[in-house]
Subunit: 330 residues, 2 copies
DNA sequence: CTGAAAGCGCTTACAG
DNA sequence: CTGAAAGCGCTTACAG
């Protein structure tokens, strides 16, 4: 590989001049520029970004940390993050923690050793003290999907309102006995969605159906199936379900079918996210839609702003609106 | 951040000694090592991997290039790639080309500027001349899922045999009029699956049903829906379908249902991949299973071997077996 | 076993 | 507008 030295030699100038031409910061005489560019061309010169980064103390890389990339929620997020990162001149490291906090820690360590300019976390829980600490260190970071209160930049959606609206919608469609299918309360999104559900149900003078057994679970198809099966046993009069994830909603629908009941006639089911596949199910899943791709893009924009401006500016949050997408399951 | 110089000073040794302790290559006296490690500890020293990479000409990063991360085939692959990369001490760049060859080119350029040690491509087509060239340059790379003939390391599955077996299976289950739902023939996997289908059908003395209109299409739900709808019109006696992707298969099943027919009673549908979600559909999708996660891991192992051994060794390929997973759709 | 020095390929004050 | 020099933080021959 040709270096800046080779280019300088070929063009008959000093390496600093080559650097100036390539970075376009200072005025360089047209003739000189021409000669440099020609040398660059002829040698097929490509700058060594490692050297540049070492000197500039800026790598133009960012990282996205997710708990499980095979969950389509995070895939959609990753897609938005990746596209925007590239658009802004950054390359993206993908890190999958598998929900293991010690793996997350070691990711953070190696990413800092690589001088990534910032990190987007889609893994925050109320127990993520290491994230608080990282933020206090002034390291550029943005929480995505899940927040930790007011001290860290974050992009998420209006989970509480979405859940109120979603539950109200089920009532409006004739449900009178609505259960909630949650996720780990240590995750802000799930906690807020529970609160929204609870407030809607109580405002209708009814009682919450939420077996706290499911508090610690993951939002998987199988968890949804299992939970719905038990709900139907424990509360035979259930006629509606709001799930905190599409995966659980689909699993729950399968459980309803397996029990010989019908969706939406016997039990209406509302999902949360609008993953790419859910409209192809039978019945197509009605959801509170989160604009995941756009949220991913927004997180990158926020992160880059933080990278450029440093930790001085006030903490920012961007809260996306959810949208009810009525389909066949309600 | 503390540097190696700070550590050396604190420990009262030369920076080269610090380097030796940290890299553990040469013998260092126990006392000296102790002092160094203590200084490292006290300062919270972390090495600058950019500087290390610049000096060693090895970044310990690799990249995965996919056409569309939102297609679960590539998510499953990425999961295997990421886990194995981390296990081997590499960080992973994720690059999504959106099937745009000029974006792929610019990814390759920036990745080389970042001195990634190698790249895994899940994007190869018969028109990927730039990949041929990169390989000729001696750059470490592995093709994943799709190969380009014998000159580049590759990991894929036995598409031809899988397709023969899959089609035979449909015959065995009583089908006599089996259509094929393909993908772009410029992609080795799709081409080989067509060939397998064709040979099976012809060995039964029957004719291929494959509207070449679909040759250039993407393997999406909607493409599957549309194609199946037209197939049913053009060939009302169709009683089986082998799809080259799960997405198309699901779309096709929906088309069958929409036409008032039943799967599998009227038309049997076989998918290809075994994406995480397909067993939750109604009916659950029968598939030829590709071990995507394992294929991703294997590609990393092959790539790292290539990185360590250079371009001298003969080209290697690893071909995974597929497995028939019978479920409800056949 | 350890130190002093050179160098990886850049950028950027500092001169002129 | 351009050049010469220092330095980013490491590793690794070269001496001793």
């Amino acid at each position: 590989m040709a270096t800046i030295r080779d280019v300088a030699e070929k063009a008959g100038v000093n390496i600093s001049t080559v650097s100036r031409v390539l970075n376009g910061k200072m005025h360089v005489e047209d003739q000189t520029r021409e000669r440099v560019m020609q040398a660059v061309e002829e040698l097929g010169y490509r700058p060594n970004l490692l050297a540049k980064a070492l000197k500039e103390r800026k790598s133009s890389t960012i990282a996205l940390i997710v708990p499980n990339i095979r969950n389509q929620v995070f895939t959609a997020l990753a897609s938005g993050v990746e596209d925007m990162a590239i658009k802004c001149g950054y390359n993206l490291f993908l890190c999958d923690t598998g929900n293991d906090i010690s793996i997350e820690r070691s990711y953070i360590e190696s990413l800092r050793e690589r001088f990534v300019d910032g990190i987007i976390f889609a893994t925050a829980t109320s127990e993520s003290e290491h994230l608080l600490k990282l933020n206090d260190d002034g390291f550029p970071m943005v929480l995505l999907l899940r927040h930790m209160g007011a001290n860290i930049d974050a992009v998420y959606c209006d989970n509480y309102k979405a859940s109120v609206d979603g539950t109200d919608y089920l009532f409006q469609k004739g449900c009178s006995r609505i259960a909630f299918l949650g996720g780990d309360r240590k995750i802000s999104a799930y906690n807020e969605r529970f609160n929204g559900y609870r407030d809607s149900v109580e405002s209708h003078g009814l009682k919450v159906i939420d077996k706290l057994t499911y508090t610690g679970h993951e939002t998987t198809f199988d968890a949804g199936y299992k939970a719905m099966t038990e709900y139907m046993k424990a509360y035979p009069d259930i006629d509606g379900l709001i799930a905190t994830s599409d995966n659980e909603a689909i699993g729950a629908i399968n459980a309803v079918k397996a029990a010989g009941k019908k969706v939406p006639d016997d039990i209406k089911v509302l999902g949360f996210a609008d993953l790419d596949i859910v409209k192809y199910f039978d019945p197509p899943l009605s959801v509170m839609r989160q604009p995941l791709y756009e949220m991913g893009s927004a997180a990158v924009e926020m992160l880059i702003e933080r990278i450029n401006n440093g930790p001085v500016k006030p903490v920012r949050t961007k809260v996306f609106k959810t949208e009810l997408i009525p389909r066949g399951s309600v």
